[in-house]
Symmetry: C2
Subunit: 434 residues, 2 copies
Amino acid sequence: MGNVKILNAILSDRLCDLYIKEGVIYKIVYNTADQESVALKEILDIEFSSIDHKVIDANKKYVIPSFVNMHTHAAMTLMRGVGEDMSLMDWLYKKIWPIEQRLDQELIYWGTKLACLEMLKTGTTVFNDQYWHINKAVEAASEMGLCSFHSFVILDLNDASKKDKIIDDCNIMFEQSKNWPTSQKFTIGIHAPYSVSKEMIEWGADFARKNNLLLHIHVSETEFENNESIKKHGVTPTQYLDSLGVLDRNVIAAHSLWMSDKDIEIFAKRGVNVVHNINSNLKIASGYKFRYNEFRDAGVNVTLGTDGCASSNNLDMLETMKTTALVQKAWRYSPTALPIDELMNLSTFNGYKSLGINAGVVQEGAQAHLLLIDTDSYAFTPNINFLANLIYSANSSCVDTVISNGNVVMQNREVIGQREILDNVNRLYKKLID
Amino acid sequence: MGNVKILNAILSDRLCDLYIKEGVIYKIVYNTADQESVALKEILDIEFSSIDHKVIDANKKYVIPSFVNMHTHAAMTLMRGVGEDMSLMDWLYKKIWPIEQRLDQELIYWGTKLACLEMLKTGTTVFNDQYWHINKAVEAASEMGLCSFHSFVILDLNDASKKDKIIDDCNIMFEQSKNWPTSQKFTIGIHAPYSVSKEMIEWGADFARKNNLLLHIHVSETEFENNESIKKHGVTPTQYLDSLGVLDRNVIAAHSLWMSDKDIEIFAKRGVNVVHNINSNLKIASGYKFRYNEFRDAGVNVTLGTDGCASSNNLDMLETMKTTALVQKAWRYSPTALPIDELMNLSTFNGYKSLGINAGVVQEGAQAHLLLIDTDSYAFTPNINFLANLIYSANSSCVDTVISNGNVVMQNREVIGQREILDNVNRLYKKLID
């Protein structure tokens, strides 16, 4: 919850100074010559002179909200490129699952560190994670200065005998989470309606509701999953979950690619948040006709994620945004689909909203999750439309400075500890592969 | 046609030195301790000591072929972001065409310079261009050290009265092109079968054939174009062009998104080269089901391009490669579609082949169009599969050094003249927009 003074940033095409106090955007003063602005700056400078703070000269870099990665399995960075151009079943059985058996705390720690490094470099300061050994992931994310949400994953493969062990583990972890840093939050993860027994789905949803926790779940990622649900339960995964009383405002549903009109209506009525993960969907060939317009028109809060690096290979939200818009325009045969301003909201404001964080806008009173974007490059030349250049022309190397919760966590593309992270992962990943 | 010694590069996971002489990869010597290698290096070092050459320590960077952008309108960099989220007709009539009326030689020169800067930064050394004021584009590309192909564009909007003027202009330009630098080549551009009269299509194809020139043409970019062709000529654009005797091994057909089995068969029989431009196709919503497998299986040479920055916003071939593979996997619902090795060929070897250049491989005897890729970053960590990391994890900021025809045109991401190019475009683009 740091204090920072950012000088000469560009916000909505105007030059301004931003005063960040205790992690919150305290004042934004536009650099005009009028008396009021000058007087206000003097007062603020006096106020800041008595508190410990950092000063950054943005030198006409653009200030925008940082991105929220709403669905990932962070430490899967360790499996980047491990199974390419394979069928889904070969990929799971021959590569991913055998490798996951070998994960240990050290690997999760360094894999999550690598993920955090990558997220900072690509402009993400908040992520919603679902993976193993979560205490080590929490340690890594906290050290790197990101805000993060970590699921205790309920995955019993429909084996009721595992119930007591899972409940015990969950209670223990939940107790431990009370000692986590304040930027790391405990959530309940229900892997998916097809991989978890009815009893444990109900238990997990109930535990989340009672303890005021978010509930992170994969829903309707594949057509196969839908067909199986209809065979087994007579209804779609969404309708099945709704019949169990799971769906509520605290639910974050990943993928939701294969949704009927009725399913979307249910999500809207219950206030479920959706995470679209286009690169993963395309690469694994799960589907691509994400029904963005229908979700939006029904009033569902739509957010974006990358999924884990085993399926989509990176955690780059800017790339995700571009692909999301391109594919929406393409499959609907409409170049006006998903315009830029809406797209920006999906990766910022809507994500923060679903996590209960007051951020995703550059406004006084919002938490300071911010990026400074360097426009002195071919990608922003000419700079007729900054957001279009950011999304459609640039890549994430334009992210120069990252502020997470008021702390400067990357400056001039330098992240503290980078060398150590790369070296440790390069040393350790060999434990995972043959 | 420079001379360069590249030390400590990684090629197919082995450390090697590359000796480039007069623009050609002369020798590749793997860094083993065996007597033969050591002796060979001594001989080569003596030979090179007597010729003017540059030495680069690659410091374990990977060496790969540079990319070929097979379809672009380079100076459209000037219109980056000018018309976003618009319908095709609004975009053309309200934005692009009015702006193009204002283009002059100075704008084309600096717009093409900017395009070349961007191409070098993103690893492209060869491009196939179709735009206006081509003498200025040639000047810009030559100064920047790229190899390029520039169309004299035939576009009569089916107005036969323009015939004599076009033919005169084409002859004049062709004569002038004989004085162009050797790295810049003259080609015939026929805009498209729907926008050029039958007479001029035939004349252009004949002129190209007689003078041994490439023929650059848009074919079947939209479904609308196909429907109109069938209404007017009773056949598809491909079958219409074939009936005029246009299709031959010198033809480079851009887009070709809406192709029947019979059309593909004709392309195969005639030896036509195809350029797929996925980002442009997606963004303008022209279509996305490019029939890659069918083209490949029929034996058609498939290559990749970006199209101009007015439609796809950048000239980044690495991004194009990623989107190409993702969309092929997605629309075919097959994660094994378009594997990495094939994808690399599309953007390198196949492009060079269609242009008659012996390059696109890192092999002795090939022209030195090469990149050094910096893998010391999160995107290549761990580096289990270099090509997967390059295409699916990294972005083009990993391109560290670019060699075009044996000349070092970018080193440590520095391109000579960059500042001047950005400043001039930022000054001049205002002539184009209101």
